[in-house]
Symmetry: C2
Subunit: 322 residues, 2 copies
């Protein structure tokens, strides 16, 4: 069995990071499955389903820890599996898979826009908003509120160790929005003047916990302490289905040299270890709403999103496994 | 009236920061009053009291916002005033003032040691301790626990923007203590593995709030959330008597270039402001104990320390004012 060359190409580009960013990776993976269905030489649905499973496994193996990539595969393959097991013929299976892939890509492209629309309704004229790190979805909400003529101001935390706050500050400021830039430690000091917190997510668990850039949980905690709403802007493919199976999300430990330059660290006593976790986990209870492209939900409804997107059936096997 | 030359010299050195650090400033100011009393040419207690008041005003004017400096002056001058108003003669007033100054200096020198002793008793073998910034008193507690053979480990936060965490990490590590160095934002992520939080204070208010390096309040908040004890190591001259009069402690706003280098900030859009508060305020409810050289107290007993050190009489005028 041979897969079409586009599948190998896309897999390679995801692997070597020519294609990167959660959204782009997810859309490219869906596109690969679509092309496989479109150009397949399969003579019946059994053959096509085999090819699709191979393609999905290959794509899945490229970046095994990211959540958006398997989610794109699941979205398409879950729908394909239902059809295949329900006795779809070749043309029906092709149609279902191509359609599911297009749907995923379309939803994903529109997601940021819709999140911005939904989120902006919850921003009021005169609001001071606090944000952390650099989230496309969160920034979308603020830009949209600004477009609507709301006079907002944004407190941006610098986001050590990699300073993503600088990107956010510049992007908002260049859009015209006034920005106050502070160190991460200042989050509580300025929470009293903050009206809303808007942040992104790397992934969201079955019980509504939000895995996001280290520091997110502290900001959410003090926001809750101040009765300031924490709004998490997140596309549905950030929801982590394996957490329905009890899986814990792995908190990536990154290079210590991101925190202290190598040359400097080498002069330090040997009994200092530098620990550099990329993410922390914010419990659902500190989050007011999660803003998805499907709608604004309480964090506790994460399970509903997961059930709808992936189904309980997912519990037993990945749709590309037997 | 002429003050002795040592008073002018010490005042000058405090002003130009040759003498710095809360402890040293306070002890030098007390010493200046002591020398004034010792070398005074005054012919009676009225003259001496006038000189002492002049000296106190001069010293007070050098660094008007620090709390340790006026506290040293108050300690000595309050005792002098009581004696003077009680009809002390020249020799009696000299004796009282010299004695009060020596007492202050002695107490101050012993304070760190005693705090270390008291604090170390609350550290248990195997404890993981989190600290923030660079506090001589807090470090004293950890070193003492280590000296006592307790196997501790310390999580040190880097303390943006001025990286005082580096000093703390090196100092502890060179003493032999294993250190884990993290960004400030990681405080909640590692609070679950933390047994005790030990931090210093810049000043402490009448109702037991702790003013300390920006970020302290966030760490205390998440420690409280985790039922981890927050222990504040602070000499009694860090207690801020003017807060008994309703005075708010001024939160020093420092140079934005500490956060972002000047050359970089100049390339940023003009609608980004960088705010750089040096301190934040931790409410008493997040603090388990304050460890002073007088003893371990609940934060709510700050008022008792203040009353004892400065008396209610302080409410009406500074002892060097009329
Ligand atoms: N690594 C992880 N993967 C998935 N969920 C997690 C993880 N760590 C914590 N959680 C969830 O996030 C919340 C953590 O709350 P807390 O222990 O208060 O920080 C709980 O709801 C946990 O179930
Ligand atoms: N600038 C300040 N000077 C003195 N006390 C303060 C100051 N800011 C806050 N406080 C006290 O510290 C606590 C602040 O608590 P919170 O408002 O929860 O941060 C309260 O007890 C206030 O009375």
């Amino acid at each position: 069995m041979r897969l079409v060359k586009e599948v190998y190409e896309i897999a390679e580009k995801i692997k070597n990071m020519e294609i990167r960013g959660a959204g782009k990776i997810a859309r490219s993976a869906a596109l690969a499955l679509q092309i496989q269905a479109e150009k397949s030489q399969a003579k019946n649905s059994d053959e096509l389903w085999k090819e699709l499973k191979e393609a999905a496994k290959l794509l899945h193996s490229t970046r095994p820890t990211a959540v958006s990539l398997p989610n794109a595969l699941r979205y398409v393959m879950y729908r394909g599996k239902i059809a295949y097991q329900g006795g779809a013929d070749l043309d029906q299976l092709k149609f279902i898979v191509i359609n599911a892939a297009k749907e995923f890509i379309h939803n994903s492209e529109k997601a940021i826009e819709r999140i911005a629309e939904f989120g902006a309704k919850r921003i009021e004229d005169g609001d001071v908003i606090m944000t952390h790190c650099h989230s496309k979805a969160a920034i979308g909400v603020m830009k949209k509120a600004w477009d609507e003529g709301k006079d907002i101001k944004v407190i941006v935390t610098e986001t050590r160790p990699k300073w993503q706050g600088k990107l956010t500050a510049r992007e908002l400021a260049e859009y015209g929005i006034p920005v106050i830039y502070v160190v991460d430690s200042a989050a509580r000091h300025y929470m009293k003047m903050t009206d809303k917190v808007v942040m992104g997510a790397d992934s969201i668990t079955a019980n509504g916990a939000v895995i996001n850039k280290i520091g997110t949980a502290l900001i959410a905690l003090t926001a809750k302490e101040h009765r300031v709403w924490v709004m998490i802007a997140a596309e549905t493919y950030k929801f982590h289905p394996e957490t329905m199976l009890g899986q814990l999300v792995e908190i990536e430990m990154r290079d210590p040299y991101e925190v202290i330059p190598k040359e400097e660290l080498e002069t330090w006593p040997k009994n200092i270890e530098v620990w550099n976790p990329a993410f922390d986990v914010t419990p659902a209870e500190y989050i007011d709403v999660i803003i998805t492209e499907k709608g604004v939900i309480p964090p506790y409804a994460a399970i509903d999103i997961l059930k709808e997107e992936f189904g309980w059936a997912f519990k037993y096997t990945e749709p590309w496994e037997d």
